[in-house]
């Protein structure tokens, strides 16, 4: 068993409406000096796999095929276990 953690973030330069709205809301709540808010996704999953290389290849394929929208998003995979 291996645990994979995937971070999916918008590519540089892509508009992030959610991040923008959060930044405004934080300012409205009186949090000053907050900048550059970006919202992404964080996905955790367990894999029946013991080989690190194979596990990474598998999760990479999942990202390419489903988890990330590679036209506008980047992803990062961390493995553990």
């Amino acid at each position: 068993m291996m645990r994979a953690r995937v971070h999916i973030t918008l590519k540089h330069g892509v508009l992030d409406p959610q991040g923008k709205a959060i930044a405004n809301a934080l300012a409205g709540l009186g949090f000053a000096g907050v900048d550059d808010v970006r919202q992404g996704k964080y996905i955790e999953l367990k894999l029946e796999e013991t080989d690190r290389e194979r596990a990474r290849a598998k999760v990479d394929a999942m990202c390419q095929k489903l988890l990330a929208n590679t036209v506008i998003e980047n992803y990062r995979i961390d493995l553990e276990g």
Binding site: K11, G13, V14, L15, P17, A21, V71, I72
Partner: protein
């Protein structure tokens, strides 16, 4: 801080990378008497692009009828405007977002909706309805499912959030769209007829105002602008996809309408394709004035944007306005209240020139009128589509297991199945004026606080257009007119979205020319002018074009909502068909779905008959003689009756097909100019007499009764079963059943 930027040298190679031909580049050099700088070249390439200049299509678009006593503003503005009486105007337009939606279905479709909404509210209208004609590739193509899911979610994601109901559209499948789906979107809005806003700039000294979202590097293309050379800091290849922000658009909509209630605005235009370039040039050119812009004042999302990038960015949710000088503070207060950017970026001059400054330096200096006037206009060679031989009904076999089983089978196919899976993802009721939402012939949306309504529909039968562009063009217009008529509306005008392949191929150009010809004929015969539209060419991959698809968006007026009807059959009503049924099976759905053939000439469209039959049907509806009405289209009579039965939850007893027409041709033929009427017994005599007087064919088919559809000599099929079959295909295909 800012990375040093080397702008590439301007030459013909660079111009061709931006889509300008050698001849066009030479024309630019001649016009300027010098070599343009990069920003100027970018402006030319945008303004002279197919998208902005209509260089391949203009000649033919000009042949369409665009006037009628009720037309307030025809093509040439952001949207078309018609007078609908009592001081109100309807403002509408349709547009394509095909390519972006293929690359990124959710955002492509969402920003398509955002763009067409802006075209309508920039003229002062509150949008009241969205329609979305969609064409996807073959269901078994590996990309199709993903595209359907993304496009539908994207349209809903934008329309639902902004709170404009999506009340109808189309969704069909054909392998010709495998590599080029069509995502068209139409918006209809309402404004007071004397409060329409136009894009003609005026008033030397008046300020040029930028409002909405900040500008980022969204959608900046041009092959040679490859990031490596142009922006050395960025490792990633910049996506050309834009992300929509419906929340900001909602704010922009409310802020614009609030400002429009004052008289501070001289001119306003959304920043759509080619952003600041096309909006500023179009506004200046319409007003015959000059504009100076200080690009350093444009609100930006990213540091270090160049003049080129600022002028060509396609960031969403932005508008350009000319205000009366001195009105800036009150306008600014409104936009600040809605938490939007507001910047005075320039002013109107009498120089006739576009002067752009960046970092204190001159970034572009172009004379506006010649740039617009000498935009290329091509008369592309074209060859007419060869006529197909008609296919006699006798040459098409009957269904192996009877009419009713064939019906059930047809209802369970991609094109004829219920599209509930799509429209349940759209808020089609928000604004609480939707009298008839998706699922009927035309949507009926009440004019708020009144008992009048607009009827709205979008239509096109691409297989007919492919088989015979002239007939297909006629049919698309006629079908939309019929759909409006079927709810009791008076059809008033159309918008269109001309989706075609590569116009540089004579056979594609021939399709375009033929379709325009047919559309024009139908518009003239039906008093149904074109008031706005959009052209989307080059819809093809590896030399294979899509089925030519001139999508038509029709708008009509329901004078009294209580007189409007739906297609839902009711117990006890007699079923009649208006129009002649010869049993035309060429290019029919029956032929394709049961026998796998797309052969044969499409059904002829007799425009005089269309007019006569439609006017008759409308008069009968308005007289209160009609309980339910449905036009017949794909799948023919039996499909139409079944749809009425399913909608009303009522069975129908049908009589045998008349002698002289093979039964399957009678029930599944796609002859045009027909409607199915459900008539209460005590109105039958009046309707029959009126039909005879108007020289309109009218034939009895049976009666709505019981819980099943019956035909003499066949096993009855329950309406519940028909509904189950009709609801099955899409959820099953999308993996939800």
């Amino acid at each position: 801080m800012m990375a040093a930027r080397r702008e590439p040298a301007v030459d013909q190679k660079l111009a061709s990378g931006m889509g300008l031909s050698a001849e066009e580049y030479a024309r630019i050099l001649a016009l300027l008497g010098r070599t343009p700088n990069l920003t100027e070249l970018g402006i030319f390439s945008a303004m002279w692009s197919e998208h902005c200049s209509y260089k391949s299509s203009k000649k033919w678009l000009k042949t369409l009828p665009t006037t009628a006593p009720w037309v307030i503003c025809g093509p040439g503005e952001n949207a078309g405007v018609i007078d609908i009486g009592q001081g109100w105007a309807a403002i509408f337009k349709m547009e394509s977002h095909n390519h972006p939606s293929f690359i990124e279905p959710y955002q492509g479709a969402a920003t398509g909706v955002g763009g067409i909404l802006r075209d309508v509210f920039t003229m002062g209208a509150r949008p009241i309805a969205i329609m979305d004609p969609l064409r996807f590739g073959a269901p078994d193509h590996p990309k199709t499912r993903h595209l359907v899911a993304g496009v539908v979610a994207g349209i809903g994601g934008y329309g639902n959030c902004i709170g404009v109901p999506t009340v109808g559209g189309e969704c069909t499948f054909h392998p010709s769209y495998n590599g080029n789906i069509l995502v068209n979107a139409m918006t209809v809005g309402l404004a007071r007829a004397d409060r329409i806003f136009y894009s003609k700039a005026a008033g030397v000294g008046n300020p040029v105002i930028y409002v909405g979202s900040k500008t980022g590097r969204d959608g900046i293309h041009g092959a040679t602008m490859a990031s490596a050379e142009f922006d050395e800091r960025s490792e990633e290849k910049r996506p050309t996809v834009q992300v929509g922000d419906p929340f900001t658009e909602k704010l922009l909509l409310e802020a614009c309408l609030e400002l429009m209630a004052t008289d501070a605005i001289v001119a306003i235009q959304d920043m759509g394709a080619a952003g600041l370039t096309s909006s500023s040039f179009e506004m200046a050119s319409k007003g015959g004035v000059g504009i100076e812009i200080d690009l350093d004042r444009v609100p930006t999302r990213e540091p270090g944007m160049s003049a080129y990038e600022l002028m060509l960015s396609e960031s969403q949710e932005r508008m350009l306005m000319i205000l009366e000088a001195g009105r800036e503070p009150e306008a600014e207060a409104i936009f600040r209240k809605w938490e939007l950017d507001f910047a005075v970026i320039g002013r109107i001059t009498d120089s006739g020139r576009m002067i752009l400054r960046k970092d204190g330096q001159l970034a572009a200096d172009l004379e506006i009128a010649p740039l617009v006037a000498s935009a290329p206009e091509y008369e592309r060679p074209w060859t007419p589509t060869p006529a197909r031989a008609p296919l006699p009904a006798a040459a098409v076999p009957g269904p192996p297991k009877g009419m009713l089983e064939a019906l059930a089978q047809l209802l369970d196919t991609p094109d004829l199945c219920s599209k509930r899976w799509v429209w349940e993802q759209y808020d089609h009721m928000v604004m609480a004026d939707t009298a008839q939402g998706p699922g009927g012939d035309a949507a009926v949306v009440r004019i708020h606080d009144s008992n009048r309504a607009l009827a709205i529909t979008t239509d096109c039968t691409p297989r007919y257009v492919a088989a015979d562009p002239v007939m297909g063009g006629r049919q698309a217009v006629a079908e939309s007119w019929r759909n409006l008529t079927a709810v009791g509306a008076r059809p008033l005008a159309i918008t269109d979205c001309m989706n075609f392949g590569n116009p540089q191929r004579p056979e594609i150009m021939g399709q375009f020319v033929g379709a325009i010809q047919g559309m024009g004929e139908a518009c003239r015969a039906l008093d149904y002018p074109v008031v706005s539209g959009n052209v989307s060419l080059y819809n093809e991959t590896s030399g294979k074009g899509i089925q030519p698809t001139p999508a038509i968006g029709g708008v009509g007026l329901v004078e009294d909502l209580r007189r409007s009807v739906s297609l839902a059959g009711r117990a006890g009503l007699a079923i009649y068909v208006v129009g002649e049924t010869r049993g035309h099976l060429g290019s029919s759905v029956y032929l394709r779905e049961l026998w796998g053939s797309e052969d044969g000439a499409p059904p002829p469209v007799d425009l005089a008959a269309e007019r006569r039959h439609g006017d008759f049907v409308r008069a009968q509806i308005l007289a209160g003689h009609v309980g339910a009405c449905h036009d017949t289209a794909d799948g023919g009579l039996l499909v139409a009756v079944a749809e009425m039965a399913i909608a009303g939850g009522i069975g129908a007893h049908l009589q045998a097909a008349p002698a002289g027409v093979p039964a399957h041709a009678f029930w599944f033929g796609e002859d045009q100019a027909r409607y199915v009427l459900a008539i209460a017994p005590d109105h039958v005599a009046a309707v029959t007499a009126a039909a005879a007087k108007a020289n309109v064919p009218l034939a009895a088919l049976g009666r709505f009764t019981g819980t099943a559809l019956t035909l003499p000599g066949e096993t009855a099929i329950s309406v519940a079963e028909l509904r189950r079959r009709r609801e099955a295909w899409l959820p099953r295909y999308m993996g939800q059943a």
